[in-house]
């Protein structure tokens, strides 16, 4: 996983699996990396082929952190299987999804 700081945005990428076995570590690492002045979180999902409901829970946790700072959680380029999960759970209405 790669975490980059860019002004008010924290960008997270290089995630292949975001499932029950890794979701807790993922959320904790991102939370720890978030600087005091940062409010937006971007999660690059272009390499993420595995997302389950626990991984989704971690994303919801980040969404709540960003919202509490009046920021946004942006999901970048989710793969079809990930998009399917977001739609089935209707979280595609909640998260900002950006496709390039």
């Amino acid at each position: 996983m790669v975490i980059q700081s860019n002004g008010k945005t924290l960008r997270v990428g290089g995630i292949q699996n975001l499932g029950a076995h890794s979701a807790g570590d993922f959320r904790d690492q991102v939370r720890a990396a978030l600087g005091p002045g940062q409010k937006d979180i971007e999660v690059d999902l272009s390499q993420t082929s595995y997302l389950d409901s626990c991984g989704l829970g971690a994303l919801i946790g980040l969404y709540k952190i960003a919202s509490s700072r009046e920021g946004k959680l942006r999901l970048l380029d989710p793969q079809p299987a990930v998009e399917q999960l977001l739609q089935l759970t209707r979280m595609h209405r909640v998260f900002e999804i950006v496709k390039n």
Binding site: A20, S53, I60, G61, Q84
Partner: protein, 147 residues
């Protein structure tokens, strides 16, 4: 991850038939590994990608539950996936305390981080049954597909 795979490409006018059997004996990380095997197996059987995504997700959620809530020292959960007559059947046998399967699970509030697994089983499969038992519980899920 223990795996026993038996395949048959018998074409009897009803599509390919085959079975994949696995034990989920590597914890939650093993479920991710097993999901890859499920995907490859279904691909090899000619199941369309869109269908595989749904079945794979159901398998992952069921596998996670079976592993996560297993009683200490119990046998690992086992999974059998079979194709017959245009239908995929997924059977997960677990050794958890068991639970009451709601007939129509609902989604929690958007800001709730847990509680979507059972909903996803029902959202991705045509039919879901859970049979608690003294010597293990059986979750059986079916989905029809068109090649």
């Amino acid at each position: 991850l223990s795996k026993t795979e038996t395949k048959s490409s018998r074409q009897n006018g009803k599509g390919p038939e085959g079975t994949l059997q696995m034990a989920l004996d590597k914890g939650l990380a093993g479920v991710a590994e097993a999901a890859e095997n499920v995907e490859k197996f279904l691909q090899g059987m000619g199941v369309p990608t869109q269908e595989i995504m749904a079945m794979r997700l159901a398998f992952i959620e069921a596998g996670n539950n079976a592993v996560q809530y297993a009683k200490a020292g119990s046998l690992p959960p086992t999974v059998t996936i079979s194709l017959e007559a245009g239908q995929v059947t997924i059977i997960v046998t677990d050794h958890t305390p068991g639970f009451q399967m709601p007939s129509q699970p609902t989604l929690p509030d958007d800001d709730t981080e847990r509680g979507r697994g059972l909903y996803l089983l029902h959202a991705t499969m045509d039919r879901v049954e859970y049979h608690p038992g003294e010597h293990g519980n059986r979750l059986i899920m079916w989905r029809r597909y068109k090649a």
